[in-house]
């Protein structure tokens, strides 16, 4: 048994067989087979060699036909390597005598040669390693398929272990088959983490190097609550986690009963719970959990992994679907919130690698620099506003000038639509994210120019504490309940109240039950959280009174460090809502 600690990004526990995908995108297969499986493993091996033989012959004939015999000859040499009797004897031996899997035996046997060639003194001689790699790649392709297949064609329930998963790969994971995933890199609040949470797949990221030490087929436990990954767990550990999975399930069933009950405190005050979503299909999860609306609709997925910028129609179709499916409940659409590196066609100047991307050209800054892209999105938002209650929200606003520019563009587009005779909601509410300390400090001014604000704690914490949350070396300094952050949240709530505009909090902090009492005590009445967290937060609300929450806030104001605060909050919620097993 081996336990590794990573960063918990999506809660829950998964227990299952590992599928390993290395940093080059190959799936790393299991290393050993059962004694009784030698026969069938030899058949797989035979099948792979025969199929690759045919492939190489085909390549040889094609190339020879196109470019001449001399060029086809290289494939003839590849075929000779594939049929090398000495190599084959060795591979057969590894499978039959040492019970290596076909893949592992091939990797070991060919690896000796490729390593030898790679170490030769001249580039020309080192080229030979490529021939060996080519054969290995073909054999592996036959035996296990390439990465896309590995992820999309998973046929039995597994835990995916990878160096990294892109947001689109994460989004395409088959939720029926992928029980959980673990990555070597990544951090909380990263896009992959947010997508994992949206899919409700337990996930741990930022574990550090470990792929070399695991192999496909190993039993793995992913503890998405504690950020722990356990390889080849002992029976006792398995039993403990299986019980935990069962408890989670029964708690979820009990929380389901809360769906139609009002979200209010014991003392009667209403707490509005909205949902954060990333993909249109999540609307179902929102409705199932009893969300009052969508408090944060992230639109980045429209841009990610796309060859081309989304068109106005692309935007409109998904916005219209979300608004329609929400059946009249409000939907807050946040405009593009990405770094320049993530979109297909960024302005030329942004092609320069940024030394500090989090302080660079991203989000509203990028939109304002790339007006045509911004205009496309805003036109679609305005058009969709005829279908239901849509609010638009600008991210990462750090100066009044930016907000005014964005609003000016919106007015401009409204005039265009008027001229074109296209209808839109003239009372469309306009809001901004409060996630940069400067926007908190200047909030009395900002508040005169927006209809609502939403506190984005993920970025607010990062910018207040100057911590890159995806950097493992400093991630421990990233703390939602750092007193400095709490002061900014309280200041935001107070200034917004004075200006009589609505405040919601939409960071990941809002979905964690340990902060609920504190946030209510600090004056928040609206939270927008991941749909799966709604039942738990509602449970907390229905179990406490406003006086209790205000007392918690009062005590916390006197504390001077995050650790102390977190410990206290955990204790308070455990006492108030023992069922949540905090």
């Amino acid at each position: 048994m081996r336990i590794l600690q990573g960063i918990a990004v999506s809660p829950g526990v998964a227990i299952g067989e590992a599928v390993v995908i290395d940093d080059k995108g190959y799936r790393i297969p299991r290393r050993f087979i059962a004694r009784g499986a030698v026969e069938s493993e030899m058949q797989r091996l035979e099948g792979a060699f025969a199929a690759v033989g045919k492939q190489i012959e085909q390549s040889r004939d094609e190339i020879a036909g196109e470019l001449g015999q001399q060029y086809g000859a290289i494939f003839s040499a590849h075929l000779q390597m594939l049929q090398d009797a000495k190599l084959r004897t060795e591979i057969d031996h590894l499978v039959k005598q040492r019970h290596y899997s076909a893949e592992y035996a091939i990797t070991r046997a060919l690896g000796k040669y490729s390593k030898f060639f790679e170490n030769l003194p001249t580039a020309y001689l080192r080229e030979r390693a490529n021939d060996v790699h080519d054969i290995e790649r073909r054999l592996m392709g036959e035996l296990i398929g390439n990465r896309r297949e590995a992820l999309e064609e998973i046929k039995s329930p597994v835990v995916v272990l990878a160096n990294n998963l892109t947001p689109s790969e994460t989004a395409n994971l088959n939720r029926e088959m992928v029980l959980g995933f673990v990555t070597e890199v990544g951090g909380p609040g990263g896009h992959t983490a947010i997508v994992a949470e949206a899919l409700e797949i337990p996930a741990v990221v930022g574990v550090g190097d470990f792929l070399n030490e695991v192999s496909g087929g190993d039993l793995v436990i992913v503890d998405g609550d504690q950020g722990r990954v356990i390889f080849q767990p002992d029976d006792e550990t398995i039993a403990r986690y299986e019980q935990e999975v069962e408890e989670h399930r029964s708690l979820a069933a009990r929380l389901d009963l809360l769906r139609d009950l009002p979200s209010e405190l014991l003392s009667g005050e209403q707490i509005h719970l909205y949902a954060n979503i990333e993909f249109p299909h999540e609307v179902d999860a929102c409705l199932q959990r009893g969300a009052e609306g969508i408090g944060l609709y992230r639109t980045e997925f429209l841009y990610l992994g796309q060859e081309q910028e989304p068109t106005e129609e692309d935007h409109y179709q998904v916005y219209a679907k979300v608004v329609q499916d929400m059946g009249g409940a409000p939907v807050v659409i946040r405009t593009l919130d990405l770094g320049a590196d993530k979109i297909a066609r960024a302005p030329n100047e942004s092609r320069v690698a940024e030394a500090n991307p989090f302080l660079g050209l991203r989000s509203i800054r990028l939109s304002l620099r790339n007006i045509s892209l911004f205009r496309t999105q805003l036109r679609a938002v305005l058009r969709a506003s005829m279908i239901g209650e849509i609010h638009v929200m600008f991210p990462l606003v750090s100066t009044l000038h930016e907000l005014r520019q964005a609003k000016m563009l919106l007015t401009d587009i409204m005039e265009d639509l008027d001229e074109e005779g296209i209808p839109y909601d003239r009372n469309l509410k306009i809001g901004m994210m409060v996630e940069v300390p400067s926007s908190v400090i200047m909030l009395d001014h900002f508040a005169k120019e927006v209809d609502f604000i939403s506190i984005g704690t993920n970025d607010l914490v990062q910018y207040t504490l100057a911590v890159d949350r995806s950097n493992k070396e400093v991630a421990a300094l990233y703390n939602n309940c750092d007193p400095a952050v709490l002061r900014l949240i309280e200041m935001t709530v107070r200034l917004a109240k004075e200006a009589d505009i609505k405040t919601t909090l939409c960071g990941q902090m809002g979905g964690n039950p340990i902060y609920a009492m504190l946030l209510i005590g600090l004056g928040l009445r609206s939270l927008s959280i991941t749909p799966s967290a709604i039942p738990e937060i509602k449970k907390v609300c229905r179990s406490v009174s406003l006086a209790q929450c205000e007392e918690v806030a009062r005590r916390v104001r006197e504390m001077e460090n995050a650790r102390e605060i977190k410990r206290y909050l955990r204790e308070e919620v455990r006492r108030a809502v023992p069922e949540l097993m905090m």
């Binding site: 001449g68 290289i74 040499a77 000779q80 090398d84 000495k86 030898f116």
Partner: protein, 127 residues
């Protein structure tokens, strides 16, 4: 060519190999043959010539090994042959053992001699 026939060589290999392991025929038919060859083509014994060599070697019953200095590998394995890193000018010894060892050694030595033309053709007149 073939002036070095029946030349004796010392085995410097620290773990000497059995040469006659595959012999099932009687002692009468057993032959042992060695040929010294020099790699003349510019690119050395790379994949394509090695392929041709192994193809030919496999047509004989005799066990065929190739030696470069202290290193000796199977002449019927292309992967092994490539590990000799036989560049232009390198001297190799073909060692054949078995009923058709003489014929094998002659044919293989002759083949290596043809590598010059075969290899230089695509450089001077590409199709």
């Amino acid at each position: 060519m073939g002036g070095g026939r029946r030349r004796t060589y010392r085995r410097i290999d620290s773990a000497p190999r059995r040469l006659n392991r595959n012999l099932s025929v009687g002692e009468m038919t057993h032959q042992h043959a060695t040929r010294r060859i020099v790699i003349k083509n510019q690119q050395g014994l790379h994949a394509r010539p090695a392929d041709a060599f192994v193809k030919l070697a496999n047509q004989f019953q005799a066990n065929v090994e190739i030696e470069r200095d202290t290193l000796r590998v199977s002449g019927k394995s292309i992967l092994d042959l490539l590990t000799l890193v036989a560049e232009q000018g390198v001297q190799l010894t073909i060692i054949a053992d078995g009923p058709d060892a003489e014929a094998a050694a002659d044919a293989l030595a002759a083949l290596v001699d043809t590598f010059v033309e075969e290899d230089e053709q695509p450089d001077t007149q590409p199709d």
